[in-house]
Amino acid sequence: MQEVLRKQIMPDTHLTCVKTDKFKTCTLSVNLIAPLDREAAPKNALLPKVLLRGTAAHPDMAQLNAALDELYGARIVPLIRKKGENHCVGFLADFIDDDFVPADERILEKTAALLGEVLLSPTTHGGLLRADYVDGEKKNLIDEIRAGINDKRSYALDRLFELMCDKERFGVHKLGDEARAAEITPMSLTRHYQSLLSGARVEVFYCGAHDPARVEAAVLSALAALPRSGPATPVTTDVRLEAVTKEPRVFTDKLDVNQGKLTIGFRLGKSMLSPNYAALMVFNAAYGGSVTSKLFLNVREKLSLCYYASSLIEKHKGVMAVSSGVECTKFEVAQNEILAQLDAMKKGDISDWELLSAKRAVITSIKANMDKPAGLEEMFFDQTIASIKITPDELAALADSVTAGEISEIASGVELDSIYYLTCLDNGGDAHEN
């Protein structure tokens, strides 16, 4: 049995509590929601890493990690997420359920207190976040930004959105850029930290076997020092319905790789005016988001062109990307096929089998996510950002009733915006540069 309770526990601060005894662990996350912004992005990304270096009571990693070890290997990991044009930063803690602990150790209260301490009582020097921690984590952040290129598949997607949305806040990377990261000082980060704490909307999520009243008490006590001074910054995303230019914009990077990456960006168009999220999920599953999708069956299986060709939708921003790994010499064939499959959907070419399979894939993924603590956390968080009031079970039921007409209607509004080629040094690429 799963019971969901959502309530405001402080001004602009909500607690979502999923009570279930099926897991052996409990999950507790705290998220601060800020606008995605080029200047603030690297500071947001840096903050949780610096805070995890030490608190007033546990001033270094050795002491903080030891405290976590003592709580039977509880974890507190940083969360840095981009949801539409919102930048969400915070921490996720997970810890084992009291049932499996020898004595009455009150792991929930102790972990919540530690989480609150990490968020609200950092170790400081002269009123500022410690310079050695800020510098050390700044270097790590810059390394992490540079390391984006190591995974070519996700790098190609990041580059596509960066280029496609260069005039929109969505084009900002969730880690920010290297130059702005390099300018951060203990002073600028401390100021940012204080304004973020007082101005951000806060979302707390818990899932586990404890009674919601006990969770609320533990969270309230842990967050007692959270400044809540005025109305929080609103949570918004500017959704652009049409492509930026009539003809798609084309971007190319050359790297010394064996396999090229073809990444295509789209605007979801008119369906974003009043989005039907269930239908969008089924549309994506039918086009390229599942193994029964048109892209998987045609681009990969039938033409044997690539190892992967899949689509994803960012529902908050209303954009879609198709990403695919192909021989650099075969970009054109793959691209034509990817676009032809979308055209087919626009014309209503969606078989009963395709529709049914896509719905099953969506329903399975929603319900299977409910069986994972981290999946539940992300799902409820997404719902909050998008102001969706329905439960995951209701979303699954809605997906089941989506029609081929609705999918085709979504497809017909989709506009090709940009194409990004990550191509090999020696061949390919040239033929595609218009």
Partner: protein
Amino acid sequence: MKTKCYDRIGEQVYSEKLENGLTVFVVRKQGYNKKYAFFATDYGGADRRFKLGGRWLDTPMGVAHFLEHKMFDTEDGNALAELSANGASPNAFTSTDITAYFFESIEKFQENLEILLSFVSIPYFTPESVQKEQGIIGQEIRMTEDEPDYAVYYGLMKALYKHNPLRDSVAGTVESIAEITADTLYSCHKVFYNPSNMVLVVAGDVDPEQITAAARKILPKEPGELPQRDYGPAEAMTPESGRFEARMEVSIPIFLMGCKAIPPVKDIDFLRQELIGTLAMDILAGRSSPLFLKMYEEGLINNNFSAAYEYAAGAACTIAGGESANPDRVFELYKQAAGDLAAKGPDPELFNRLKKAMQGRQLRSLNSFETICYNTARGYFRGYDAFQAPEVLAAVTREDITAFARDNLRSGDMALSVILPKNA
């Protein structure tokens, strides 16, 4: 059917060995939407030389993985699509020593289970379908060859081992898979996909009797022979070469350090050594270890640093690595710390604390059906009961860690693999 209760972790496991040699495990989990089935064979990328009809047969690199892709083809179409259309999310993987097919589904579980058992046990290959797959897998290989994590791992294996198949990529190379024919696939299926060499593990709110009934209905009635395989002569404990180095499109050097470990020989020793090895690596280089903290605070390593103990294909090793501007310095410090651990043993407070943390991690892993099923299957193939891990861990002592470090973290026998940035 046997039932075992593990009160310490609150789990209940049913098991039965069927007439055809297949062992079935059912882990009852209540309150979950999904049910999960995991059907695996004790056959992986390292099993290249084996006996068939009394003769030793050598097969190209990458057959186990190729076979995994091709098994989804059925005479009527494709099982991947059939399962997906039926509400299951199916997938498969091939590791060095295991090939597994699995799905999770919310509805029609029994029907989907029958599809799974059927497509994995009935091979259907044609020259055309093999040729088409060479295109898809060729792209998969090209993709992984661009991945620095892959390159640094196989670099280390090549630096450690002289001839063990762990040196070679599970997927093979574009050239090696070109040698694969439908006949190669049929031979390997015959040897390794017989029920005696396989295991079925199901997790979820299911009726164990229905699971064994499905296996009896779909699978071959006769047990096959247990396959004999050959990983070559025993390896020396010294590394083949001390160092591997390559340049790729990376932003910061990526490195992996390793040392061969003495492979465990029987059943529960596998589990014991795995737990001791994991805890020893935590104490040596985990996030609470003095070594990790010192290197992290100096900015020598970042959060991507990790350490582990591994066993596959008759060989065991300890590995640790991540990203660093100065991998050689990390290697020096690591060797020193390993030497200290072997000489002095672990600090008692750290030992107790990290053992406690590991007990918590063991419990956490029981949230994941994937982990439960994989660990159960792997334990079965190596002859131990994975659910005993908590009690085996509880009995581990400081002296076990010291002995492990002395035997298996020999600072003189360590190798380093490094991927350096192209334009540095």
